[in-house]
């Protein structure tokens, strides 16, 4: 019963997200609306983490599996990729590395400088 209830809550929130996606003219997918709704429900104490904990842990754990069908679908896209395959791959790989490096380094630098000022204020 516990899992049924948890899964029911998560599906209901996904459905609410879907509705918002249909009603509001914004380029925000149902999943992101749902994420914000669940976060708000937890934040305002309407739901407790215990109400969704086990099922959400399970779903997050098996999340990589859910990407397999779309990735296997790359077989179908080969037709449009092959015309320009080298630039496409270089762009994808290089920009992913650069973005990961820049956002990680910037986050780390700002958070370190933040710690220092806090320490100075305390001193």
């Amino acid at each position: 019963m516990k899992y049924l209830k948890q899964f029911g809550i998560i599906l209901a929130i996904s459905f609410a997200g879907e509705l918002l996606n249909k009603i509001l003219p914004l380029p925000i997918p149902a999943s992101i609306y749902g994420l914000v709704i669940l976060f708000a429900l937890l934040h305002f104490g309407i739901l407790k983490v215990d109400h969704v904990k086990e099922t959400s842990t399970f779903l997050i754990e098996i999340m990589p599996l859910m990407f397999i069908p779309a990735a296997v679908g790359l077989l179908e896209s080969w037709g449009i990729i092959k015309n320009n395959v080298v630039p496409y791959i270089v762009m994808t790989v290089v920009s992913t590395i650069v973005v990961m490096a820049v956002s990680g380094i910037v986050t780390q630098l700002v958070s370190k400088s933040g710690c220092k000022t806090e320490r100075r204020e305390q001193a």
């Binding site: 599906l11 996904s14 749902g34 994420l35 296997v72 077989l75 990680g104 910037v106 986050t107």
Partner: protein, 230 residues
């Protein structure tokens, strides 16, 4: 024989699950980044379809039920995020700075390389949303007049690449702070990368989840501005 497989609804799910399981075993055994369960399962499934001459549509008739859970699973990312709310509050400046600089880097690097390779406008805007989650990225590509199917392909490749090499990239660039690692992975490689961040740690996973939403939304605005540059 072939028809037997093609008409079985559970074929697609079973082959994906088995391939993933095999990937997990290989990862444990070899402990090398390339032996990533997601990557291995994709390759094995592709091989099975090719060798067995099974069409993607037939495979997907069963496998689509795996994709079906993607929305509920993404909704669930709110839980680790909520559990790390204090961390988020005390580091919000660093987090916003990291995500914004990542998005600008993404758009800027695409612009630079598209110019370098002499891509046309339509190809250029196709790549602009490459680092954000598929559902938002498709919308952006459509809005800007790109090749939507190509955008989806590039987004998936970006995610898989991030999933496989996230740990190595963070190590090379000495990104060790768990918050920074999470922001880096989520901003660069959306939900597929986040699946990896979740395996690295709770903080990494929570911060990566946050980046999917924030980077996605900033890119919607940023891409429409960058679309005018080429």
């Amino acid at each position: 024989m072939n028809e037997m497989f093609e008409n079985a609804v559970f074929f697609g799910v079973t082959i994906s699950l088995c391939a993933y399981g095999l990937g997990l075993i290989m990862q444990k055994k070899f402990k090398i980044a390339v032996f990533n369960p997601l990557l291995i399962s994709i390759i094995i499934t592709m091989l099975v379809l090719k060798v067995g001459n099974i069409s993607y549509d037939k495979y997907n008739e069963g496998a689509k039920y795996l994709s079906y859970f993607l929305t509920p699973a993404t909704v669930c990312l709110a839980v680790p995020l909520y559990e790390k709310i204090e961390l988020l509050k005390s580091n919000w400046k660093a987090i916003i700075a990291g995500i914004v600089s990542g998005v600008i880097t993404s758009l800027g690097s695409i612009l630079a390389m598209a110019a370098f390779f002499g891509l046309d406008h339509k190809e250029y805007v196709t790549f602009l949303p490459k680092s954000i989650t598929t559902a938002i990225g498709m919308g952006v590509a459509e809005e800007l007049g790109g090749y939507v199917t190509l955008t989806v392909a590039v987004i998936i490749v970006t995610g898989i690449f991030g999933n496989v090499f996230a740990s190595a990239i963070c190590k090379i660039f000495k990104i060790t702070d768990p918050i920074a690692v999470g922001i880096a992975i989520g901003t660069a490689s959306h939900a597929v990368g986040t699946a990896r961040a979740m395996e690295i740690g709770e903080t990494e996973g929570a911060m990566s989840s946050l980046s999917i939403a924030v980077a996605g939304l900033i890119t919607v605005v940023g891409a429409s501005i960058f679309a005018n540059f080429m």
